[in-house]
């Protein structure tokens, strides 16, 4: 299994996520440049990561320009053919803008950028990034965003629930999903979702920032390990 990390101008978590796959997990990992349409040999069964950052500056709505970049044409068709695509933070925003995931990410309820550790609890084990996680056990993962308030209309939200597409909810340290644990006003405490085909994932928290012992938190590494282990089972 190979991994491709897309580099948009303004991506700034590309190196961090690249490092997790290549150095910590020892996986073959390449970078994909936004101006190219070439996926450099990535095939179905491989995985594309859209990293965090401020693609094209995000002076407009976050992700609104990135979705039109040449590489996204290829990412969209890769996803439509069933390829694994994982968007983290800005990557999640781009996936929503590109229509690969439902809903939208609005400005945080307090109108400020928020960077801090939060807890999230897996809501479904029916995805490669959550399959190996312990149900109902909260993970400490940082967030860092100004536009992370997940929103979907009632019908969409009902669909997400019905199809078990909600992957993570903000919770307290014990895994209780409650209002005080919701850092940004996301509807239903939603922190991450997948598409109906369960091959496209988006989440606002940054698991790559909780993936090495140097920073003193490896909760995020569990998502990466789940991806490696369970992508075989799901494929």
């Amino acid at each position: 299994m190979k991994f491709g990390v897309v580099v948009f101008p303004g991506s700034n978590c590309d190196e961090d996520v690249f490092e997790v796959f290549s150095s910590y997990l020892g996986m073959e990992t390449i970078k994909l440049w936004h101006k190219d349409e070439d996926l450099k040999g990535l095939e179905l069964g491989d995985c594309i990561i859209l990293p965090g950052g401020f693609s094209y500056g995000d002076y407009l709505r976050s992700g609104a320009i990135a979705r039109f970049s040449p590489i996204m044409k290829s990412v969209i068709s890769f996803a439509e053919n069933g390829g694994l695509v994982w968007g983290i933070c800005n990557g999640f925003q781009i996936l929503c803008e590109a229509g690969l995931l439902p809903g939208a990410l609005l400005r945080n309820e307090n109108q400020q950028f928020i960077c801090k550790n939060v807890h999230i609890v897996p809501s479904s084990n029916q995805s490669v990034i959550t399959a190996q996680l312990t149900p109902n056990v909260a993970l400490k993962i940082p967030i860092a965003h100004a536009e992370g308030r997940y929103f979907a209309d009632e019908a969409t939200l009902a669909g997400l629930k019905q199809n078990d597409q909600i992957l993570f909810r903000y919770s307290d340290a014990s895994g209780n999903v409650d209002a005080p644990s919701n850092p940004n006003g996301s509807i239903d405490n939603i922190a991450g979702i997948c598409n109906i085909g369960r091959n496209v994932f988006g989440m606002m928290p940054h698991p790559e920032r909780a993936a090495n012992t140097m920073v003193g938190n490896t909760d995020g590494l569990k998502l990466f390990e789940s991806l490696l282990t369970s992508s075989k089972i799901f494929s």
Binding site: P9, G10, N12, C13, E15, D16, E19, G52, G53, F54, Y56, G57, D58, Y59, Q112, F113, I114, C115, K116, N117, P142, A144, A146, H206, E208, R209, A211, N212, M214, V215, G216, N217
Partner: protein, 748 residues
């Protein structure tokens, strides 16, 4: 002033541009003729305080600026460069953006962050950490809150998008900053030794490029603006404030570092104050060469910009690059990849003169050397006199203050002081974790610790300055600022190696202000020699004072110390939080019956000014050296230095961070409020696993380290001399929420 070349230039023109009569005459003498308006503008910005350091350089040169680890001398390059081992060097610098931030807090602070990062990556180093040191007025004033909101949002906007973590800093509130806030930003980068780029122009005929953003009308005469008092009319100087574009800066960073790898670059300098003028003159003067520049080739944002506007524009996110002739395409390709402007605007000459053309006509011709610091720029030694207030403050002897026995009420009031509470309302708006090297997010310590990837070492960073101490006694206050910075690094497990400074003062033509400046330099110099932390550079910001109805009021002298430490083995990292009940609490160092300049005096007793806390530099160094030993022997579980708020606040912070309580006894040889809340220096609190206690005591005794066993960590309560001070949860709420409530305008 429609056509500069025809404008008659006189002494009066010079004065309008901020030059003195004598300086104007000196320019005429250097040139052998009267300069035209463009040339005079060039001199006016290059000889401004901001670019020339004319009123400070004499004294700055007395600071210790040499050391085994220093790879460039202070002021030689855009930032200091320190060898950290493993073939790596650390470039770091702190700089002020006070005046722009006072007028337009968002953009002022944002471009301050952008400017300091450029100083780092123009040397070829990749910034891996940012810090900031902020001073605001009274937080209960709506004006202050507007400034706090704007400055924090500006730093957040720029730093987060640029993708470098803001890992630390400090924030203080004091009425002296009500009008003139201070915004000091620090950047720290890593580069392989020998792979740096110098800000030098060399090689006859080598092409000169301007890269990055196009040049606009923003920030014209910003350097001159920064070199004058802030007045109530300053808001009209708004066009002197620049507008930042962090996205462009991120692209410029990546493109610049990639361009360096091509080998095509001879020298490079970022454009900050005085834009093209400053970068062309400094690079030329350094290389002993000249440049021929065609201003028509400079990409501009609007049509019909006047030559002096192009020359003086402080548009952000630009660099000047001298390229090896014949290798231009390598440079062009990189900047094309990153969709940035890259325009050849001239070439290096051997004349020593800068010649600027537009429309085929020469519009200015000035000698590069005559413009710059260390060359022809004026150097002044201002007169100084000890201001009367110093004597008044010395008379305020805190020992004669009647004992205040309302200890619990005092502790709670002090815990809610905006200067002591958690700054999370601020720092949670900064991305502190991007690049995944910040070790102190999950394991907080007195200084910020950032892992240097691919090594087993970390850099340890802090900014420190208690300006109340400095105001009370500039010499001692400056020494304490250096000592506290070093103590923070030592308590975190690092070794202090060098400093950068940001010297914020009032008007240097005020003799009292200049006395403060001289005393600060002397104190800083003495302390830096003692701690073996040479000064690698920094920034001087004068004219920080407010114009009031009945005269001017300088800010407290605020010499911010940005200190770099190295931790060769990350297993030495020591955190500040109490680990678990049962651990024993020791205070290292000697307490003194002293309440001088304490937050307790100001907040609880209502005594705004008093003598600085007692301080002995030999004791301090001795303490620090032994803390380092305790850490390396793995003897201690936590370390936290005693500073603002005294012993009580030190214990409180460690307890809150560990979500535990503490039970201590005070020493009856001291007045209890001084023991709990006094800020006498050279002390630190450590906790010890009881199993190691004997070994630690033995070590402390053999090494003559004064210590007191003051108590132990308990579950969730604060107890002092058997009296309950309340549950830790109560204090945690105060600590975490007060600043947010204040910012929401809640008065208490």
């Amino acid at each position: 002033m429609q056509n500069q070349s025809e404008t008659l230039v006189t002494v009066e023109t010079g004065k309008k541009l901020g030059l003195t009569e004598a300086e104007f005459e000196q320019i005429v003498s250097i040139m052998g003729r009267t300069p035209n308006f463009t040339e005079l503008s060039i001199y006016s910005v290059m000889w401004s305080e901001h670019c020339s350091y004319k009123n400070s350089i004499h004294w700055l040169k007395t600071l210790p600026r040499e050391g085994k680890r220093l790879l460039v001398g202070a002021g030689e390059e855009n930032a200091g460069l320190v060898d950290i081992g493993d073939g790596l060097a650390c470039a770091f610098k702190i700089e002020s953006h006070n005046h722009p931030s006072a007028i337009e807090p968002f953009q002022g602070a944002a471009t301050g962050v952008g400017g300091i990062h450029r100083d780092i990556f123009t040397m070829g180093a990749r910034p891996i950490a940012a810090l900031n040191s902020l001073r605001f007025g009274n937080i209960d004033l709506p004006h202050t809150r507007r400034l706090v909101e704007g400055v924090v949002a500006g730093i957040s906007h720029y730093g987060n998008c640029f993708g470098v973590p803001t890992v630390g800093g400090e924030v203080y509130f004091n009425d002296c900053y009500n009008q003139n806030i201070l915004v000091n930003a620090m950047s720290v980068g890593i580069v392989e030794v020998g792979k740096t780029v110098s800000a030098i122009a060399e090689g006859l005929g080598n092409p000169v490029f301007i890269v990055g953003s196009a040049t606009g009308k923003d920030g014209i005469h910003g350097a001159t603006f920064a070199s004058a008092d802030l007045t109530e009319d300053s808001a009209e100087d708004l066009p002197a404030v620049q507008v930042g574009d962090p996205f462009q800066e991120k692209l410029l960073l990546e493109a610049t570092l990639e361009a360096i790898k091509t080998g095509a670059i001879v020298g490079m300098q970022d454009m900050g104050a005085a834009g093209i003028t400053c970068s062309t003159s400094e690079m030329s003067a350094k290389g002993g060469v000249g440049m021929m520049i065609d201003l028509d080739k400079v990409p501009t944002r609007q049509k019909n910009m006047k030559p002096f506007e192009i020359l003086l524009s402080e548009s952000q996110e630009r660099m000047l690059i001298v390229c090896h002739k014949g290798q231009e395409q390598l440079l062009l390709d990189v900047f094309e990849k990153w969709d940035l402007e890259c325009a050849e605007i001239g070439e290096v000459t051997d004349t020593g003169t800068l010649v600027f053309h537009t429309s085929g006509t020469k519009i200015a011709e000035v000698n590069a050397h005559s413009l710059v610091l260390g060359g022809g720029a004026p150097v002044y030694q201002r007169e100084y006199k000890r201001p009367a207030y110093v004597e008044e403050i010395r008379k305020i002897n805190t020992k004669s203050i009647p004992l205040n026995t309302k200890y619990v009420a005092s502790a709670k009031k002090l815990a809610a002081s905006p200067n002591l509470v958690s700054k999370r309302w601020i720092y949670e708006q900064y991305d502190s974790m991007v690049r995944t090297g910040t070790m102190t997010t999950n394991k907080p310590s007195d200084a910020s610790v950032v892992w240097v990837k691919d090594t087993k070492k970390a850099i340890v960073l802090t900014t420190d300055c208690n300006s109340s101490y400095v105001h009370a006694d500039p010499y001692q206050g400056a020494m304490i600022a250096v000592a506290e910075a070093a103590r923070n690094i030592v308590c975190s497990g690092g070794t202090p190696v060098a400093i950068t400074n940001c010297l914020n003062f009032g008007n240097p033509y005020n003799q009292g202000v200049y006395w403060q400046f001289v005393q600060v330099i002397k104190g800083m110099g003495d302390a830096c020699r003692k701690f073996n932390t040479p000064v690698t550079g920094g920034n001087v910001s004068f004219y920080n004072q407010s114009v009031l109805k009945d005269g001017t009021e300088p800010v407290f002298p605020t010499p911010t110390i940005g200190m770099l430490g190295v931790m060769d083995d990350i297993s030495w990292h020591t955190t500040l939080h109490f680990k678990k009940p049962g651990h024993v609490i020791y205070m290292l160092g000697t307490p003194v019956n002293d309440l001088g300049s304490s937050e307790y005096c100001r907040t609880v007793l209502g005594i705004p000014l008093s003598a600085p806390p007692s301080f002995d530099m030999d004791e301090e160094l001795h303490l620090q050296q032994n803390i380092t030993q305790l850490i390396r022997k793995k003897y201690i579980e936590s370390a936290h230095d005693i500073s603002e708020g005294g012993l009580f606040h030190c214990l409180l912070e460690s307890a809150i961070a560990g979500n535990v309580g503490f039970d201590i006894e005070t020493d009856s040889n001291f007045r209890k409020d001084a023991y709990l809340f006094g800020e006498s220096q050279s002390r630190c609190v450590v906790t010890i696993n009881p199993q190691k206690e004997d070994a630690v005591v033995n070590f402390l005794n053999t090494h003559n380290v004064p210590f007191s066993r003051i108590g132990e960590v308990i579950k969730d309560e604060i107890k002092i001399d058997a009296e309950s001070f309340g549950k830790i949860g109560e204090y945690t709420l105060i600590y975490n929420n007060t600043l947010g409530q204040k910012m929401a305008g809640v008065q208490n």
